[in-house]
């Protein structure tokens, strides 16, 4: 606690001085002041290179600096932004035409090469980019990887066979083709993700090598450019890029202010020292509506909270045990009492924001029925002691404890919530096959598709399938979905796959999240999207 408090105390005066500096304008005429800047809360981004950024804070900054190929409309269907068109006849070879007129902030023209260089860099194994798995679908990805023969040992991994993806071909300066390893009907959808931003020539010191210091001042093709450099643990400042050909932002710039503690940001937005607090902490939820009135807002996002059963713990191997535990949890009580309705009870395995979502796919297993749950649990011989392991830095204690209390009461078992400091500590225990009990998991989609909720989480060897679930039928259906000719056919396959999950219950769906954010009296039209990112072209400053 001492450490956390310290952080808060250092953040407060800092934030206060910055806030004062930002409070420049503020006349009384007109509706919106295009020359004013706004301040937005983020956490320290992990990276600011598009192929390596997958945290929402990094995405927030990059979304101001870059314009994506496609973005998503209200129905979460992709529409072109920096791309003129994205077409394919066979779902295997995709032709991407770029809009003319886009330039990088240093004046360089955005060309096909800007994309090809960036994607090759992201896919090249030795670069260790966090988003490299997005390029897996492109032909030639395997040739860019190499395995270290002795793990962490002294031998070095051999050079990969190739430096560039064979599936990427330049046609002319504004056209290129992408050949996939297998047909994939939703390739256009995933192009909206951060990983698919372009990189300018200026980012590279040699072909395939990112220049030192590029990450501290990324050069993008978006509506804002960097002002100064990334000041670690303090702020990232951006200003409007006037040569941007797309939708112009209504503000002159923004300061992304880095907070270590959510409660400090909340205190700042209360006192108008911060304009947008993207995540109102759970502990402030019950008072936020009175504190802020209509400046406290909620919007849909794509997050999905669940608990998973590690397959190495044999006591959970019977589906009936898992089903009984699920039926003993009163989801509505927890969303009401703990989350003050800021989250929604989940009874399906995919978020309502994606096409193909159906209500109540898990049926009886997700209905609260304590008597039936207890009968089922005892008949199936469930363990007398349960444990829910969670990461202690994410504000999960309250609901984990409440869930445990419900299991205690409704199943007549002992239950404890065990906190690990960070999610990575939790994963270390899971990988070491230690008895962790149920594990807390959360998922925020990368691109709006059912596949993004099914593939990484439940397919054998899925990138986030930490609990080891494996079902060949499920794998096959997801695979058939990704190679289906049309999105509608794909959805049908995905739904069949989801039905398998409902009968086997490898995880227990608990809640769908929402953005709960707050803004100051200075700003209006604040919108936070499905990815927890503030829409930088819509926000305005009241003058």
């Amino acid at each position: 606690m001492q450490v956390r408090r310290l952080a808060a105390w250092t953040a407060l005066p800092l934030a206060a001085t910055l806030g004062l500096a930002a409070c420049g304008g503020g006349g009384d005429s007109g509706e919106s002041d295009p020359n004013a800047t706004v301040s937005i809360q983020i956490a320290e981004p992990q990276h600011l290179i598009s192929t390596n950024t997958n945290d929402s804070s990094g995405n927030q900054v990059l979304s101001a600096l870059f314009a994506p190929l496609v973005d998503y409309d209200e129905q979460n269907k992709p529409f072109e932004v920096a791309a003129e068109s994205v077409n394919s006849t066979d779902n295997l070879t995709w032709t991407i035409k770029l809009k003319d007129g886009y330039t990088f902030h240093n004046g360089e023209k955005v060309t096909s090469d800007s994309y090809l260089n960036a994607w090759n860099y992201g896919a090249y194994g030795p670069n260790g980019q966090g988003n490299s798995y997005f390029f897996e679908k492109i032909a030639g990805f395997d040739d860019l990887q190499s395995k270290d023969p002795d793990g962490d040992g002294p031998q070095k991994a051999p050079e990969p066979k190739a430096q560039t993806l064979t599936g990427l071909k330049k046609v002319d300066d504004l056209t290129f083709t992408v050949t996939l390893a297998k047909p994939y009907s939703e390739f256009k959808t995933i192009l909206g993700y951060t990983a698919f931003y372009p990189l300018p020539e200026a980012a590279f010191s040699a072909p395939g090598v990112i220049k030192d210091g590029y990450e501290d001042a990324p050069i993008g093709n978006g509506p804002f450019k960097m002002k100064g450099t990334w000041q670690h643990d303090a702020k990232v400042e951006v200003e409007r890029y006037d040569a941007f050909p797309g939708d112009k932002p209504k503000i002159a710039g923004a300061e992304f202010r880095i907070y270590q503690q959510l409660t400090a940001a909340y205190a700042d937005v209360l006192s108008d020292n911060l304009d947008v607090d993207v995540t109102v902490p759970t502990e402030n939820l019950s008072t936020a509506a009175t504190d802020l009135g209509d400046r406290f807002q909620q919007s849909q996002n794509s997050s999905f909270q669940f608990v998973a059963f590690p397959t190495f713990q044999k006591e959970f191997s019977k589906p009936d045990v898992r089903k009984a535990i699920s039926m003993a949890i009163d989801r509505d009580e927890i969303t009401k009492s703990i989350f003050k309705e800021s989250q929604i009870s989940a009874r399906s395995f995919v978020s309502p924001v994606v096409a193909g979502y159906r209500d109540d796919t898990c049926g009886e297993a997700c209905e609260f029925n304590p008597t039936k749950a207890k009968e089922l649990y005892q008949a199936a011989g469930g363990p007398a002691e349960l444990k829910i392991t969670y990461n202690g830095d994410g504000g999960h204690k309250d609901w984990v404890d409440a869930t445990c209390n419900q299991l205690k009461t409704n199943l007549g078992v002992d239950c404890v919530g065990a906190a690990e400091p960070k999610f990575s500590d939790l994963l270390t225990k899971v990988e070491g096959k230690q008895p962790v009990g149920l594990i807390r998991m959360g998922w925020l989609m990368d691109y709006p598709s059912m596949e993004n909720y099914l593939g990484p989480l439940y397919t054998t060897n899925g990138s986030s399938n930490y609990y080891g679930y494996s079902n060949p039928d499920f794998d096959r259906l997801v695979q058939e979905g990704t190679t289906a000719a049309t999105p509608d056919e794909a959805v049908k396959k995905y739904q069949q796959a989801e039905d398998i999950l409902a009968t086997e219950m490898p995880v227990i769906p608990l809640r769908f999240g929402q953005n709960v954010y707050a803004h100051s009296t200075r700003v209006k039209n604040v919108e936070v999207d499905l990815f927890q990112v503030v829409d930088m072209t819509k926000i305005e400053v009241v003058s």
Partner: protein
């Protein structure tokens, strides 16, 4: 100190009572201290509190009939009622029942840390004070080194290594960590009183009568240098309880399902604005207990210290 010597010397030689009060029974140091203590209201207040907390730790059922583990969200922040005089906390647990049951962990940690501290301190202090010379020099440097380690910081580092979630193992770990880091003051006190006792005539007499090192230390010096240590340990017991609560508050001491005031204070803190009772009740229990032990130790010290008389 003069009284102590005469009484001890008189006992040793089997002679008559000391010269201070020829009329009545021999006045011992303890007798004088007791006479002082009886008139000290602070002593009585703190003694009652200490006894009350001890009873709570031993027989929590006498104080509440509610199960502290019986929590349901339906009662979240509900007011007093149903045998819960202070109402219910965020998770719908009985605040009072949890505070009562929290006494056990705190007292266990406090008492056993103090006991272990006493054993380490007496061994080290006795050896250093009795043998002097290089033994003293070496042991005193060890004391200096341990004294230089910040208790909380070192406890955090050590307890982070304990990954077990078993309640018993965590309690034992906390006891050991606090004892290992907290024995130095008591050892210094023992050392200095052993040094002064060693030079007394009755020690020389025992030596002359052929008592070996072990017997001299155990039978003659130890009983006469114990009083100040008991006082130091009583005060330390209070601070160990506070240290346990601090570590549990930080999430690295005791962990659920063990009930500890530190854990409850942490939980109450996050929902302070909705209901402060869940924070105030365990804090008050903790503050009163720590204060009681420290005041008790203070009162006893004042009574035993002839310089203050």
């Amino acid at each position: 100190m003069s009284e102590l010597e005469t009484v001890a010397a008189a006992e040793l030689s089997g002679g008559k009572a000391g010269s201070a009060d020829p009329a009545a029974r021999p006045r011992s140091l303890a007798g004088d201290a007791w006479r002082d203590l009886r008139r000290n209201p602070i002593f009585w207040i703190s003694l009652v509190l200490v006894l009350a907390v001890t009873a709570m730790a031993a027989f929590p059922g006498l104080f509440t009939s509610n199960d502290p583990h019986d929590c349901t969200l339906a009662r979240q922040h509900a007011g007093p009622g149903g045998g819960a005089p202070f109402g219910y906390d965020f998770q719908g647990c009985d605040i009072y029942a949890r505070a009562v049951f929290g006494a056990r962990a705190s007292l266990l940690v406090g008492a056993f840390s103090a006991l272990l501290t006493g054993i380490i301190a007496i061994t080290v202090g006795m050896l250093a004070g009795y043998f002097g010379r290089w033994v003293d020099a070496a042991l005193s440097r060890v004391i200096d080194v341990v004294l230089g380690i910040p208790l909380l910081l070192a406890a955090i580092v050590m307890l982070k290594r304990i990954s077990s979630d078993s309640p018993n193992i965590r309690i034992i770990a906390v006891i050991f960590v606090l004892a290992i880091l907290g024995w130095t003051t008591a050892a210094r006190v023992i050392r200095s009183s052993v040094i002064s006792a060693k030079q007394q005539d009755y020690v020389a007499a025992a030596r002359m009568l052929g008592a070996g090192n072990g017997r001299t230390m155990w039978r003659h010096i130890l009983p006469n240098s114990l009083a100040p240590v008991i006082v130091v340990l009583t005060i330390a017991l209070g601070s160990f309880i506070a240290a346990e609560a601090t570590l549990s508050f930080l999430g690295i001491g005791l962990k659920a399902p063990t009930i500890s005031w530190g854990i409850d204070i942490d939980a109450g803190r996050t929902h302070m604005r909705e209901s402060a009772v869940a924070l105030v009740v365990p804090s008050t229990f903790l503050a009163l207990t720590v204060l009681a032990f420290i005041m008790l130790g203070d009162a006893i010290r004042d009574a035993f210290d002839p310089k203050l008389r």
